[in-house]
């Protein structure tokens, strides 16, 4: 059990983090104070073309020089700073959170169609698998990510998220079972511009992991959620599938339904299930994924986890609970529950 909240303002009008904090705190019943997190898109307008590489250092004196050196080998650190935090009684600061604003040198990744992204992915994998005491937990452009072990309101106050503004926010209230108390295990998970929050447990994790790792990704965070970000990255960024097609791969219709479709759709859906069989995610889940242009929520094929969606003006909300959405938008009228496996997508229009 976990709680999810997501919001997008399609006109890119930015809102600060305070209302997201309120909404997420409304779902404390779904968490246990062992992990909460937020992500904001559009948070760093002054550095919007730079990769905001977020790092947890176990011991900053021991490791920071190594990260500085590695990044400098692959590009330019335009700016870096400790992520500001308040001292907070409820949060034990076991890591030093840091962020780099980084410009990769694309000439160092010849032969790639997306050299910048590939350099960042390479660095994330290299650091997270080979540099003990260092974890890169976010690496998008103009994306700020905050997470720690604690209740949502405490984590929000610790990072002062009311000081940040974003046109997309995701928040997550965690009831961890496999990695309690570890900051890296809190959601959202991020790679490049992808962020994911997830409620549930992916029973196909082993299959998905073997599949995604054969494309050069490395699952390093000891939890099933990170694989979702990598799968979406592979399907959408690398293979060029539309979001709708990607959800058809991740949570496809049942064969019975596919067999009843008209021939063209049947061929298409059969091809997706055949080609992307190992990307199918099984087990209970509600997931919200974001990148700079959209948020998308969907559940597993038999909807074993809740997801509600609401619209008001230019804003689309996705959440585990209607109550959370009503904290942000008390007079909301249009609330719906998406069908199992069907994606709900909100895109920016500006």
């Amino acid at each position: 059990m976990c709680g999810i909240i997501g919001v997008i303002d399609r006109s890119r009008e930015r809102l600060d983090g305070s209302s997201v904090r309120e909404a997420l705190s409304k779902m404390d019943e779904r968490g246990n104070g062992q992990g909460s997190g937020y992500v904001a898109y559009g948070a760093f307008p002054e550095f919007k073309d730079l990769y905001a590489i977020h790092v947890f250092f176990d011991n900053i004196h021991e490791s920071k020089t190594k990260v500085d050196t590695l990044l400098s080998e692959w590009g330019t650190i335009e700016h870096d700073e400790e992520i500001p935090t308040n001292e907070h009684a409820a949060i034990k600061k076991v890591h030093t959170p840091w962020r780099y604003f980084f410009r990769p040198d694309k000439t160092l990744m010849p032969g790639s169609r997306t050299p910048d992204d590939d350099i960042i992915m390479h660095l994330v994998m290299k650091v997270n698998t080979g540099m003990p005491g260092v974890l890169i937990f976010s690496s998008g452009k103009n994306v700020a990510l905050f997470k720690a072990s604690g209740w949502p309101e405490d984590v929000a106050d610790f990072y002062r998220i009311q000081d940040y503004k974003g046109y997309i926010w995701l928040g997550h209230n965690r009831y961890p079972t496999n990695t309690p108390g570890w900051w890296g295990g809190a959601h959202p998970f991020n790679l490049l511009n992808w962020s994911v929050v997830h409620n549930g447990e992916i029973t196909s994790y082993g299959t998905n992991q073997r599949y995604i790792e054969s494309f050069g990704y490395k699952c390093t965070m000891f939890t099933d959620t990170e694989v979702v970000a990598y799968l979406v990255d592979l399907l959408v960024r690398q293979h060029g599938l539309s979001l709708e097609m990607a959800t058809r791969a991740l949570a496809p219709p049942f064969w019975d339904e596919i067999d009843r479709l008209p021939e063209k759709d049947r061929t298409l859906n059969t091809a997706i299930r055949m080609a992307y069989a190992s990307a199918l995610m099984n087990g209970p889940f509600a997931i919200v994924i974001a990148n700079e242009d959209f948020i998308m929520g969907f559940t597993d094929r038999i909807k074993l986890r809740p997801l509600v969606t609401a619209e008001q003006g230019n804003r689309l909300y996705l959440s585990s609970e209607e109550a959370a959405i009503r904290m942000m938008e008390p007079d909301i009228e249009k609330i719906t529950m998406p069908r199992a496996g069907s994606p709900v997508i909100g895109r920016v229009i500006a």
Binding site: T203, G206, T207, G240, S242, R273, M274, L280, I302
Partner: protein, 503 residues
């Protein structure tokens, strides 16, 4: 007593109070254990192979069979089997023939792997109440799909998917040729696979005319002897399989004794009646991986690229690299036949000592193909020692797409695993061509038995998946996270890439 006389393997005794001297045992025993003398039945227990035909037919349960009533002095090194092999060879000077699968007591990896189930944090799924998908496609899959936008703005699929076999259950029946087994046995299996929406192999024996109605569920085999192969045969199959090797006898060719080659077998195999059908050890047109590629592509060309082509190899030490080569040969599936695979006839020394278990082979092949990014190029079919639905679940979790069963299907037809298939006098009408024995197996009854087995395993597989919170087979495939090793050594756990129980 002459040199090398061995004690009888089985003592057969008749309870004279029960016996009514009906003579059914005499009629039924094709190994000549029983004889009627006057108003009593006499027994020659040395002929007994424990096929249980007499037990099944005796109306009074008067017969009992006891294994090894008089054994040798026990010795851990000089086992009974070793001593008898020596006596046998000292007498004959020949290679010892044997039947069925590996008979040495190697540890069974399947029995040291345990499956997972959901508790609390995620719900198990009830297959009686929720959809449960076992549909499996065997063949090449594209690495990714390409779309273009149509005029109406819809996404249109550009990628063409290569021909695949569509299975309703991941359980197929492997290649047991007409010749090795009877036509009634093949017909039973053919009816069963058609009913259960799966496939069977023809083996290297051609396709008998009477099986043409089932050809859409037949995988036709091309082996080194090329017995029964012509364009008619290739065109009739739903898929074509090139047999390079077999788990029961890696490195050597098939062997059908002339006794089993009657008129019908001879016509179907396209060989003279009564002649031994001895397949060469290698294909004489395949001396390297590029030759294999040519044969794969020739078969595809001959059948207009409409059929998947499989390549079957015995699971040997270097199976992973070989399978990677096969994956790049245009083949659509690789069959890995483990060292427990059964056979009608194999030299004992091969059956018991050559090759590796299918569990390790599948794990290594799946890993190698993924490392090379070509797992989608080819399906993996596992065979050789699949005994029950749990084995199916475990081998799929290790990375197989589907399985072939062989011995299990024969057991469903009545086989008692007596291991004397090569003698051609199977009392159950399975591994024989003698008309009077063959007719003992009724294809209607037989097909029901085999279909029941496939249904039963399929239902169990669905239950195991549901308990693990998985509602489609593709999420079990390669899901080694849901396996744990129990009392497996660390080296093997690394090969299988599974954690220990408790970890």
């Amino acid at each position: 007593m002459s040199i090398g006389t061995v004690p009888m393997k089985f003592r057969v005794s008749i309870d004279r109070d029960q016996c009514m001297v009906c003579g059914r045992c005499v009629e039924n025993c094709s190994y000549n254990v029983f004889r009627k003398e006057g108003d009593t039945i006499t027994v020659n227990p040395r002929n007994c192979v424990a096929c249980h035909r007499c037990l099944a037919m005796c109306p009074r349960d008067a017969i009992s069979i006891e294994e090894r009533p008089i054994d040798y002095r026990s010795h851990p090194l000089w086992t009974t089997e070793i001593r008898e092999a020596i006596y046998n060879q000292a007498r004959t000077g020949k290679i010892i023939l044997s039947g069925m699968g590996n008979a040495l007591p190697y540890p069974v990896i399947f029995d040291r792997l345990v499956l997972d189930a959901c508790q609390v944090t995620n719900p198990s799924i009830d297959p009686l109440r929720e959809p449960m998908e076992l549909r499996t496609y065997i063949g090449k899959k594209p690495a990714y799909l390409e779309f273009k936008k149509s005029n109406s703005g819809d996404a249109e699929l550009i990628t063409r998917i290569a021909p695949n076999l569509k299975l309703d259950t991941p359980i197929m029946v492997g290649h047991m040729s007409y010749g090795a087994i009877s036509l009634n046995a093949q017909t039973s299996i053919a009816k069963a696979v058609r009913e259960t929406g799966t496939f069977m192999g023809t083996g290297e024996g051609g396709l008998h005319e009477s099986l043409y109605p089932y050809q859409d569920h037949m995988i036709v085999q091309v082996a080194s002897g090329r017995f029964g192969v012509d364009i008619n045969y290739l065109e009739r199959g739903a898929a074509i399989e090139i047999k390079i090797g077999q788990g029961a006898k890696p490195g050597i060719g098939g062997h059908l004794p002339g006794e089993k080659v009657n008129k019908e077998v001879s016509v179907t195999r396209m060989i003279p009646e009564g002649s031994d059908a001895i397949s060469p050890a290698p294909h004489h047109d395949i001396y390297s991986i590029e030759d294999l590629k040519q044969l794969v592509r020739s078969l595809k060309e001959a059948t207009e690229w409409k059929k998947p082509v499989f390549v079957k190899i015995a699971a040997v030490h270097n199976a992973a690299a070989i399978a990677a080569g096969i994956a790049r040969s245009s083949a659509d599936a690789v069959v890995l036949d483990g060292f427990r695979g059964g056979t009608g006839a194999a030299p004992r020394v091969f059956r018991d000592h050559v090759g590796i278990p299918v569990e390790a082979a599948v794990a290594a092949v799946d890993t190698k193909l993924r490392q090379q990014g070509i797992r989608n190029e080819i399906s993996i079919i596992a065979s050789g020692g699949i005994r029950e639905s749990a084995d199916v679940a475990k081998i799929i979790a290790l990375g197989a797409d589907s399985v072939y069963i062989g011995t299990a299907a024969l057991v469903a037809l009545g086989c008692r695993v007596c291991g004397t298939c090569y003698r051609g006098v199977c009392a159950w009408g399975i591994a024989t061509q003698r008309a009077d024995l063959v007719k003992r197996l009724d294809p209607e009854t037989g097909s029901k038995q085999v279909a029941n087995l496939i249904h039963g395993w399929t239902d169990e597989l669905a239950e195991l998946m549901g308990a693990a919170g998985i509602n489609s087979i593709e999420s079990l495939r390669g899901n080694r996270d849901r396996l744990r090793g129990y009392m497996l050594d660390e080296a093997l756990m690394n090969v299988l890439d599974v954690k220990s129980v408790g970890a």
